[in-house]
C-alpha cells in the first residue's frame, strides 16, 4: 500500500517475484521497524545540526577555528565505548562520527565565509 501523503510504498522491493509470501511478510515486518528507526534518525540528525549550527555561529562570532581536535578525539573515544555497550561495531561508530563531523565542519566553514564582508552578495566580476 502506497502512503497517500508521501507516495512512499513500504512494500517496494525488487525481490517480490520469487519469494514465498510468509518470507516476504516477515521481511516487510522488519522493514517497517527499520522505516520507523530511519524517521527517528532523520529528526535526531536535524536536531544535532541545529545544535552544531549554534556552535558554528558562536565560533564565527568569536573567530574560533571550525575544527577542535581535542574535542573530536574525546567524542570518538566516548562513542566507541558507547558502541561497545550497545553491541555496535566501534569502528563503524567512529566512521559514522567522522562522517557527521566532516559535514559539520563544512557547515562551520560556510557560516564563517558568509560572515566575511567580501563573501556577501554572491560572486563578483
Amino acid at each position: 500500500m502506497t502512503h497517500p501523503r508521501s507516495g512512499f510504498d513500504p512494500s517496494a522491493s525488487s525481490l517480490a517475484g520469487g519469494v514465498a509470501p510468509e518470507v516476504m511478510a516477515e521481511l516487510l515486518s522488519v522493514r517497517s521497524s527499520i522505516d520507523n528507526i530511519d524517521a527517528t534518525l532523520v529528526y535526531l540528525l536535524a536536531e544535532r545540526f541545529k545544535a552544531t549550527q549554534r556552535v558554528g555561529h558562536l565560533k564565527a562570532e568569536h573567530d574560533l577555528p571550525a575544527g577542535d581536535p581535542q574535542r573530536e578525539a574525546a567524542q570518538i573515544a566516548r562513542l566507541r565505548m558507547l558502541a561497545e555497550e550497545a553491541q555496535l561495531d566501534p569502528a563503524f561508530a567512529e566512521k559514522f562520527l567522522n562522517f557527521i563531523i566532516s559535514e559539520v565542519i563544512r557547515h562551520h566553514q560556510a557560516i564563517s565565509e558568509n560572515r566575511r564582508p567580501e563573501a556577501t552578495g554572491g560572486p563578483r566580476a
Copy 2:
C-alpha cells in the same frame, strides 16, 4: 570534569586558552546536548543493525540477493521528504542513508559467505 566510569571529559577542547569564559560556557552547554544526541544515535544505530541483521539472515536462508534496488530507491525518496520536513539538507540525508546501506550490504554479504560450507572453519591450505 572527567566521568569516572568512561574517562570521557565533556569539556575537552583545543580552544580553551583564548576563549572568554562565558563563550566557553555556552559552547559547553550546546556540546552537552550534542553528546546526549550522539548517545541516542549510537543506541538507535545499534537497534537498526539488529533489524538489518534479521533481514540478512532471512535473505541468506532463502538465497535472496543482499541488495534490493527498488526498496533502496523508495527509502531514499522517503528520507529526502522527511529531511525536508525536519529542515535537514535532503542531499545529506541521502548521503547518510547510502553510508548506512553500504555497511548493511557488507554485513549481509558476510552473513551469506559465512553460511557457505566451504567458508566455515576458517581458511584452508
